[in-house]
Amino acid sequence: MTQAREHEFQPVVGREKRLADARALVEAIENEDTPAEAQLIGELTAAYSGNIFDEVGRMTREVHDTLKSFAEDERLGVLAEDEMPDARDRLRYVITLTEQAATRTLSITEDATPTAEQIVDRSQRLKDELAKVAASEADNARLGGVVESMSRYLDSATTCGERLKGQLTEIMMAQEFQDLSGQLLMRVIDLLEQLEEKLVGLLQITAPVRGAKAEDGKSAPAERAEDGVGPQLPSAGDNVVKNQDDVDDLLASLGF
């Protein structure tokens, strides 16, 4: 036994009695008097066990008090039953808002793309028709000049229409953020849900009267690559590909 433990467990029986018991024990062992030996060991142990029981009792009270104060902390109940579900609702609402915004943007780009295509098609058709007119009226110099400047305008309209189409595609692709941010937010919502469940479970154990509503026994599953783990953050490590080139390199190394 260490020094520290000798201090913790002071014997409750006097030194003289313990010495006498110890000597009697040695004698009993020497005489092979087993019943006496057992009885003396019991007496020597009893000199300490009273204190061990006190100590266990004290520790039990401490655990009890801690759990009681945990259960009585109103703040934890509010956190688990109101604020965490509320935080989840807010995050879900963020997903809804970004989805609405992305859908609205997509509808507009889908509407605008045929308009840009029309500008391109019609400008090209008109330019062809003008060229035919100019050819049949080749001797009309004034008409030739007008056709020339109109053709230049129609060329620039075609270029603008093409550029517009490309820009509309870019705007459409930018809406991809909604999927990625939505997936990340859903992971946070999931985490909050698990945390909330654990907290409610703990509160239920410590204070069954509180009437918490979570189902128990639903343990949090560990993240599995099989199930998909969602978009990786830019700070993720080497285990994560950083761009499409990395994906292509990896697949190439597998014989793709």
């Binding site: 989805e99 992305a102 859908t103 997509l106 780009t109 889908e110 595609t169 459409m172 692709m173 809406q175 991809e176 953020f177 909604q178 999927d179 990625l180 939505g182 997936q183 690559a225 099989e226 199930d227 998909g228 783990v229 969602g230 978009p231 990786q232 993720a236 285990n239 994560v240 590909v241 950083k242 761009n243 499409q244 994906v247 990896l250 697949l251 597998l254 793709f256």
Partner: protein
């Protein structure tokens, strides 16, 4: 490559389904259908004479990797070309998808040029 081929786009986010469908339309594909996870996609595939499957990975219900496995396990669908377009970017995931028989893998965010390049490559191989 047949521009009239029937393509199924599977993603749980409607925004992403719409983006992929629009990109495919720009590439000249018009015969497009969609589903929001593997569970709804599989019956469509089994009855629908699809020529090409574009799927996300992380979806509720049935994930894209399980859909891929189901497709490869079905004698009718075993040779259906499958392209994954997903935010799942862990090396082990890409390796797993390759082992399960994916034909192409695109990591989000992506762009139209990447989609076109991968589709071209897939059908170059399928047709050769």
């Amino acid at each position: 490559m047949d521009r009239n081929m029937k393509i199924l786009v599977v993603d749980d986010f409607s925004t992403m389904r719409r983006i992929i469908k629009n990109l495919l339309k720009e590439l000249g594909f018009t015969n497009l259908e969609e589903a929001d996870d593997g569970q709804t996609a599989l019956p469509l595939l089994k009855q629908g004479n699809f020529d090409f499957l574009v799927t996300d990975w992380n979806m509720p219900g049935m994930t894209g990797i399980d859909l891929l496995r189901a497709v490869r396990a079905d004698p009718e669908l075993v040779s259906l070309p499958v392209l994954m377009v997903t935010a799942e970017a862990k090396r082990e995931q890409i390796v797993l998808a390759a082992q399960e028989g994916v034909n192409g893998y695109i990591v989000k965010p992506f762009n139209g040029a990447t989609l076109k390049a991968k589709i071209d490559k897939i059908f170059e191989r399928v047709e050769s």
